[in-house]
């Protein structure tokens, strides 16, 4: 076995002290150095019974490199996860650039849950009141064929009556049959809908009040309430009235029970709907995407690149949000691009439609409307998807690609752009991950053990890179174990142990802090 002469020389990338910073300015408001950028206050995170982080405070100032060190399992990555919105803190707040790192409450959203809740509740209400029956009562009963037409107003009131379990009158063959709300039982048949209808309603009122119905003669037979006030219209035959009272009262009681169930179902469903929507929203109040969109980017302890995408594509995914801002789907050029095909379609449809005899075919207006709608949908699809290939959009993409290449050059990967991420060497993957994070144009960059698995030479060039990043005006917060890296580049350091912060200060202060030495560093390592 012959020792190679190239050890080190081959595997160590050339130091990049003379690396230019070719990136255009990020376009964000420049952070004033020294101003507190990230404020973590009494952060506590528990998983089940286990407290991973308890009462940690961090103040990261703009323009500095801040390191968090501590033994594994001390909760460092958990703090990162809380900052980037992956975990919801059990207690404590995280403020970034003066605002809470969570999606604000919005009136619109409150209205949206209520809407969702109401929709769920209505649906359940329909089911509880037999959606089939409601359909029959409102649509089927009120549609008597093309010639006789459909009365939407009547259908609506019938549907409401059905859901509210009010008695109904059905008609067949010119006669009227008052029935219970679900149509399960009819009471006699009448030439005139009113007496029977009102009788049932009256009985129901009485049943609800718990008062006696008295049948008395007053220019016909009527039902009187306890005070002797007539309810309903006079009724011609006494015998018929007597026959109706008992069953009708039963029906009324049934209707009352049905209404009660429906009210309960409705309320429960409303609660469920609002509750579900609230739960969903609560979960989504702090999402990684939202946090990333507000200027905090990160890398991961065990590199999470998009392995099957190229290096360039990885960075472009990072820049996605910003490409999106320049290439909004409603950008004017999309409209102009979509115009010719849509116009052509409308023209064709219009031509063919005008050849039809409009009066003769009642379906034509519907068809025209539908075609209009189709055109609209088609247009939206066109603008959203096809329009993306207009020359302008290609321009946007090309510009983005150029900026991505500049970023790659910044981390020293410019000649690997077309390579699949998984084929990169380990150290290069770390660099790519940093480039990808920089693509989101962050104000604060979180690096989770960037030097893990790097040899000393690679670590050195990483330190250079981190310095260069800071010079670009990006604040850096990092977790690291390599003391050489930490002590070499950090402005300030926090030490965590068992979820608590045990020390904070400049590298020198931390290095000589007896608590830190005892808990973490040990004595020899400092020599």
């Amino acid at each position: 076995m012959t020792p190679s002469d190239e050890i080190g020389a081959a595997s160590v990338p050339s130091p990049s002290s003379s690396r230019p910073s070719p990136l255009p300015p990020s376009g964000r408001a420049e952070d004033r150095p020294g101003e507190v950028l990230l404020e973590v206050d009494k952060l506590t995170i528990r998983f089940g019974g286990l407290t991973a982080v308890s009462g940690v405070d961090l103040r990261v100032r703009a323009g500095e490199v801040y390191a968090v060190i501590g033994p594994n399992g001390a909760g460092k990555t958990t703090v990162f996860n809380a900052i980037t919105g992956i975990y919801e803190p059990t207690e404590g707040t995280i403020r970034f650039a003066g605002r809470d790192v969570r999606r604000p409450w919005k009136k619109l959203l409150v209205a949206a849950w209520l809407g969702v809740g109401l929709a769920v509740a209505l649906l359940m209400l329909l089911f509880a009141s037999n959606i089939d029956g409601a359909w029959t009562a409102s649509v089927k009963q009120n549609f008597r064929g093309r010639e006789l037409g459909f009365d939407p107003g009547r259908a609506w009131s019938d549907a409401v009556a059905y859901v509210a379990a009010r008695p109904r009158v059905e008609q067949a063959g010119g006669r009227y049959y008052p029935t219970t709300h679900d149509g399960s039982r009819a009471f006699g048949s009448f030439d005139d809908p009113f007496p029977a209808w009102e009788l049932l309603a009256a009985l129901e009122v009485l049943a609800e009040r718990g008062s006696e119905a008295i049948v008395a003669r007053a220019g016909g037979f009527v039902v009187l309430d306890r005070d002797g006030v007539a309810v309903g219209r006079p009724f011609a035959e006494r015998a018929r009235l007597d026959e109706l009272v008992g069953p009708a009262r039963e029906a009324a009681a049934g209707a009352r029970a049905a209404r009660l169930t429906r009210a309960i179902v409705f309320t429960l469903a409303l609660l469920l709907g609002v509750g579900g929507a609230y739960a969903a929203w609560r979960q989504s109040r702090r999402t990684p995407a939202w946090v990333a969109g507000h200027g905090i980017a990160r890398t991961f302890q065990n590199i999470r690149l998009f392995q099957d995408m190229t290096v360039l594509e990885n960075v472009l995914v990072g820049m996605d949000r910003h490409i999106g801002k320049t290439a909004k789907w409603w950008a004017p050029h999309r409209f102009t691009n979509a115009l010719p095909p849509v116009a052509l379609g409308v023209l064709l449809v219009g031509l063919s439609a005008t050849t039809a005899e409009l009066d003769a075919d009642p379906r034509v207006p519907t068809a025209l409307f539908a075609l209009f709608a189709l055109g609209l949908v088609g247009y939206l699809v066109w603008t959203a998807l096809l329009g993306a290939f207009s020359r302008r959009d290609l321009g946007v993409e090309a510009e983005a690609a150029a900026r991505a290449r500049a970023l790659l050059a910044f981390v020293g990967l410019e000649d690997r752009a077309g390579e699949l991420a998984k084929n990169l060497a380990y150290g290069d993957q770390r660099r790519l991950e940093i480039a990808r994070a920089l693509g989101t144009e962050p104000r604060l960059l979180l690096l989770d053990e960037p030097a893990a698995g790097m040899n000393p030479a690679e670590s050195l060039s990483l330190m250079e890179l981190i310095r260069a990043i800071r010079e670009r005006g990006v604040t850096v917060l990092l977790i690291e174990h390599h003391m050489r890296v930490v002590m070499g580049i950090s402005d300030r350091i926090s030490v965590l142990e068992y979820g608590r912060k045990i020390a904070e200060g400049t590298p020198e202060e931390v290095r000589s802090n007896p608590k830190v030495i005892e808990a973490y560093l040990g004595k020899e390592e400092l020599g």
Binding site: F47, G48, T77, F80, N81, I86, L272, G276, A279, F300, Q301
Partner: protein
């Protein structure tokens, strides 16, 4: 009130049968994270075997003493059949896909499910069951266990010998399974494999054998369940595996998939909900109610009733 109690009894009995099937789902999922869609159909094939054995040995005419001997024998035969079949399927179909993306074994399982269903159809076409034209028809299982009410014929509540048979035999099987998983070396190996197969292998555990054993046990449970089911419901149909498998799987998810007590709890819940639904809402709404409940539960408790939420390590 009596109706309610009656439906609860019915629900628990039904739930017990589902629990046996659900255990097979949940054990395989616990170790491989594979939804073994073919499991329900394995159960169906088991019940065909049970029916075939009953017919071949002409049990309807046998004395009750013979029955007492024959039925456990059939149960064992079906368990062996189920275990062997499940094991072979794992060997032939799933094992080569251990390192493939998750969709591959899932789709394979669906494929095996189709094959099993078709085998069930062919099985039903055997001359033993009468005319081959009715291969797809439902097959009646002779009533071997009396349907006598144990509380006396006059009582309002009915608990029959059948119900008792179902509950007692299921509980015995479940206790046996619990002992196996908790207190044997195999059980220990199974738990270790479920938690971390790579580490288990480093401890000298033959992971492939443990997975094989899991399939055998799951298949065996399905085999026993199929006998109990055939004797309880008294019909066998080549599509029965799909519906029941779906309910059993739902039970496993409801309880927290991968969790053995969870599967039993989930199955009982589903059994009871089905029974109550058929009594109070209408039998035709059962699937809607059961799956609606499942969806709601998963929305509010994504890991199921007893499942623990696994946090992704970042």
């Amino acid at each position: 009130m009596e109706t309610l109690a009656q439906q609860l009894i019915l629900g628990v009995t039904n739930g017990m049968v589902f629990a046996l099937i659900a255990l097979g789902y949940t054990m395989v999922y616990g170790i491989l994270e594979l939804i073994n869609f073919a499991h329900g159909d394995l159960f169906m094939l088991g019940s065909f075997l049970a029916l075939t054995l009953i017919k071949v040995f002409d049990l309807p005419t046998a004395s009750s003493a013979t029955l007492l001997l024959a039925l456990p024998t059939i149960a064992v035969a079906c368990a062996v059949f189920g275990g062997a079949l499940n094991w072979s399927v794992d060997r032939l179909v799933y094992k080569p896909l251990r390192s493939a993306p998750k969709l591959a074994p899932l789709v394979s399982a669906i494929g095996v499910s189709f094959i099993f269903q078709n085998l069930g159809l062919f099985w039903g076409g055997l001359p033993l069951f009468g005319s081959a034209k009715d291969a797809s028809a439902q097959k009646d299982v002779p009533a071997l266990i009396s349907n006598v009410n144990l509380l006396g014929e006059g009582a309002h509540l009915r608990i029959t010998t059948k119900d008792l048979m179902v509950i007692v035999s299921s509980v015995i099987v479940m206790v046996a399974l619990y002992v196996l998983v908790r207190h044997t070396r195999l059980g220990k190996a199974m738990r270790a494999t479920a938690q971390n197969p790579a580490a288990a292998r480093l401890m000298g555990i033959d992971v492939d054998r443990v997975i094989g054993a899991t399939f055998v046990i799951g298949g065996g449970l399905a085999g026993i369940a199929s006998v109990i089911y055939a004797l309880y419901i008294n019909t066998v149909h080549y599509q029965a595996g799909f519906q029941n498998g779906l309910y059993a799987f739902t039970a496993a998810v409801l309880g927290g998939i991968g969790n053995i007590p969870g599967a039993v709890l989930g199955a009982l819940v589903i059994g009871v909900v089905r029974a109550l639904c058929s009594q109070y809402i209408g039998a035709q709404w059962e699937p809607a109610v059961v799956f609606g409940m499942l969806i709601l539960l998963l929305v509010f408790r994504p890991a199921g009733l007893l499942g623990s939420h696994v946090r992704e390590k970042v």
